[in-house]
Amino acid sequence: MIAPSFYLLLASVLFAIGAIGVLVRRNAIVVFMCIELMLNAANLVFVTFARQRADVSGHVYVMLVMAVAAAEVAVGLAIIVALFRERRTVNVDELRELRG
């Protein structure tokens, strides 16, 4: 059996990749995928601990997170499509209408 620390390490790496992706990528779709990556990193941590502590509630949270993520994808992609139709771009640097 592989030690839990490896799973946690993997989850940390995935999360860091996702966070950096959100911060540095310009393409809204990529940013969006990076958010999914962070969510799944969190899921991985959940199952790791559920498994280690033999507690089923971690699995339940994973299901919940996946369901929310799915809903989020639907809404988020719809917003991106609408944005593209309106502005012909998905570059987040160009979407700064809220500038003070």
Binding site: L23, L95, R96, G100
Partner: protein, 679 residues
């Protein structure tokens, strides 16, 4: 004595209030007859309700009546009910207020007939009756204060009734401001008493005053800890007396009353002679368990001396005034001084008795002067009157009776009331008696002068009605510069109140004959009823005292009648042919000239106030208006704070890039920092 509940007391203030409200709201659209009906109905209703209440009071063996209308203020452990009360003192005042008030309403119908502000005038007048009855009926200091302020408002509105004339509007403002100064003292007094006793109710205050065991024991608890009750009560009395000085025109706050003559003459009669200005006297007598020589001797000395000095001071000014209403105004100030002199000496019932008789004869005098002014189309200068005895007989005779009553000629009303005061003063303090006695001589002198100038001699109004006419005249009535003026004779509306008040001025003295009149076998084998009024008021102010022995009292009475008649005749004799040429020559140089100028210019008190108070206040106000307001208030506070917000917003707005990723960077870095710090 426990008061009896009698809820119909509320009708006394309510009826005139309804009248005032109706006239204010729809008066402009009502025909004149209906305005008269509403106004007279309101005041007559109040008079009827007062008589009914007095009757009930009398039938219940003079048990005080009360009507708790509603709980008014409840703060912490203090509650103030809106309570009306009715006892012997209230009945005396309320009958005068509503009775004389009604007569003056009647008179005003004739006097104000042609004024465009007819309905407005009666709305104010009804409102005045309402406020004055609250003042008289209120059974606690806070309720009384409502009436106190209400009559002040009515007075202000009516003094400035012809507001398009800036001088009259200014007189109204002066009355209001001077009264504010007094009212400030009045409020301090109320707060002090409420702070000491926890209540403003007269009944409870009286019980609390009676329950104080030792007036000189230093208080240990409460907000006045460290002071003796006597000191606190003396402070409260003096503060309340400041209020009384304002409302009742005593030194040093009397200056508004002569200027208040800018109002229509019936208003001067009702508010500035008969009723409102006596509120201060009423208040002092009402609180006689504090205003008492045994409780607050210092305050009482102050009151008696202020009263005595005002009596003689104002009378001296009255000698040299040429405006008929100004003479009467200073006479009122002087007579109010007599009332305070009496109250300050503890002769409360004498003070109230003088209040009542003064209300009759002074109202009659003012209404008479109003009839004269009306007849002469607004002329108020006595130098341009004269000879009015024949064309205005009713006015002349009622005026004559009231003048004799005011001067203190037996057996008219003023003789008995003034003599009661002087007898008391003679007994307690000779210097004060001297002031009162000299004041009585001056009173007779200026009234003789007034009578001589106005009603005797030749008619001077025709020739003099030329270009220099018009200062201070009743605006609504002054018109034209016709050579031969047509006298406006008083109509029935005006004559009836004159006659009734004249009759009252003649006979009101019977209410309170001095005890020496208790002669066997004069009135059909029975002794004359004496000191009836003293006994009537005794439930409020204590039993009457007989101090002087009969011989001295007879002597005093004889001397004061001779004294009054002498000066009255002197005034008449000098002035009956008009402004005296001999006197004019005598006052052209030397000390006589100075005396004349000083009196004519009213001892320069207004000028002193102008330079000591008004101009410094104005200067300070200008300073604030020109520097503090634009630079500190506007510049620093208003514009400064706006500028601060705007520039800090602009400064911080560069953070708001609109770039989602920079926000997210801050977010991630911050979360990481928090986690690192926490773990």
């Amino acid at each position: 004595m426990r008061p009896e509940s009698y809820s119909l007391l509320y009708l006394i203030p309510l009826l005139p209030l309804i009248g005032a409200a109706t006239l204010t709201l729809v008066g402009a659209r009502l025909p004149k007859a209906l305005v008269v009906l509403v106004a007279l109905g309101g005041s007559l209703g109040a008079f009827a309700a007062s008589i009914a209440s007095t009757w009930v009071f009398y039938r219940l063996q003079e048990t005080p009546l009360e009507a708790v209308l509603w709980e008014w203020i409840a703060v912490g452990r203090y509650t103030f009910d809106f309570t009306l009360g009715f006892d012997a003192l209230t009945s005396a005042l309320i009958l005068v207020v509503t009775g004389v008030g009604f007569l003056i309403h009647v008179y005003s119908v004739g006097y104000m007939k042609e004024d465009p502000g007819f309905f407005r005038y009666f709305a104010y007048l009804n409102f005045f009756i309402f406020a004055m009855s609250i003042l008289a009926l209120g059974r606690s200091l806070p309720v009384m204060f409502i009436g106190w302020e209400g009559v002040g408002l009515a007075s202000y509105l009516l003094i400035g009734f012809w507001y398009s004339d800036p001088e009259k509007a200014l007189a109204g403002k002066k009355a209001f401001i001077v009264n504010r100064i007094g009212d400030f003292g009045f409020l301090i007094g109320i707060f002090t008493l409420v702070g000491l006793f926890g209540t403003g109710d007269f009944q409870l205050l009286k019980e609390a005053a009676a329950g104080l065991r030792d007036l000189d024991e230093v208080l240990k608890i409460g907000i006045f800890a460290g002071y003796t009750p006597r000191a606190v009560i003396t402070f409260a009395c003096l503060s309340l007396f400041v209020g009384a000085c304002g409302k009742s025109a005593q030194i040093p706050l009397y200056v508004w009353l002569p200027d208040a003559m800018a109002g229509p003459t019936p208003v001067s009669a009702l508010i500035h002679a008969a009723t409102m200005v006596t509120a201060g006297v009423y208040m002092v007598v009402r609180l006689n368990f504090f205003f008492s020589p045994s409780v607050a001797p210092i305050a009482m000395h102050v009151i008696a001396w202020v009263g005595g000095l005002t009596a003689i001071f104002a009378a001296s000014i009255g000698l040299a005034q040429n405006d008929i209403k100004k003479v009467l105004a200073y006479s009122t100030v002087s007579q109010l001084g007599y009332m305070f002199l009496a109250a300050g000496l503890g002769a409360y019932s004498a003070a109230v008795f003088h209040l009542v008789t003064h209300a009759f004869f002074k109202a009659c005098l003012f209404l008479g002067s109003g009839a004269v002014i009306h007849a002469l189309h607004g002329e108020q200068d006595m130098r341009r009157m004269g000879g009015l005895r024949r064309p205005l007989p009713v006015v002349f005779w009622t005026f004559l009776i009231s003048t004799l009553a005011l001067a203190g000629v037996a057996p008219l009303a003023g003789f008995f009331s003034k003599d009661a005061i002087l007898a008391r003063a003679f007994d307690v303090s000779r210097p004060l008696w001297m002031l009162g006695f000299l004041g009585a001589g001056l009173t007779a002198l200026y009234m003789g002068r007034l009578l001589g100038l106005t009603f005797f001699g030749s008619a001077r109004y025709n020739a003099a009605h030329g270009a220099d006419v018009g200062h201070g005249a009743d605006a609504a009535h002054g018109h034209g510069t016709a050579k031969e003026i047509h006298l406006h004779k008083p109509d029935l509306w005006m004559r009836t109140p004159l006659i009734l008040l004249g009759a009252l001025a003649a006979v009101a003295g019977l209410l309170n004959l001095p005890h020496v009149f208790h002669l066997e076998g004069v009135a059909g084998g029975h002794a004359l009823e004496t000191q009836w009024f003293d006994h009537y008021l005794s439930s409020v102010v204590g039993a009457p005292q007989v101090l002087l022995d009969a011989g001295i009292e007879w002597l005093l009475m004889g001397v004061s009648v001779v004294w009054a008649v002498f000066w009255l005749f002197a005034g008449y004799a000098i002035y009956r042919r008009g402004p005296s040429a001999t006197l004019e020559r005598a006052t052209r140089s030397g000390p006589a000239r100075w005396a004349h100028v000083v009196l004519r210019e009213k001892w320069f008190v207004d000028e002193v106030y102008e330079y000591v108070i008004v101009i410094p206040v104005r200067t300070m106000a200008s300073f604030f208006a020109l520097f503090i307001d634009p630079f500190v208030i506007d510049g620093l506070f208003v514009k400064g704070s706006a500028l601060g917000v705007r520039s800090s917003g602009r400064g911080l707005s560069w953070l708001q890039t609109g770039n989602i990723q920079s926000y997210a960077t801050v977010f991630v870095v911050a979360v990481a920092a928090i986690i690192l710090w926490a773990v």
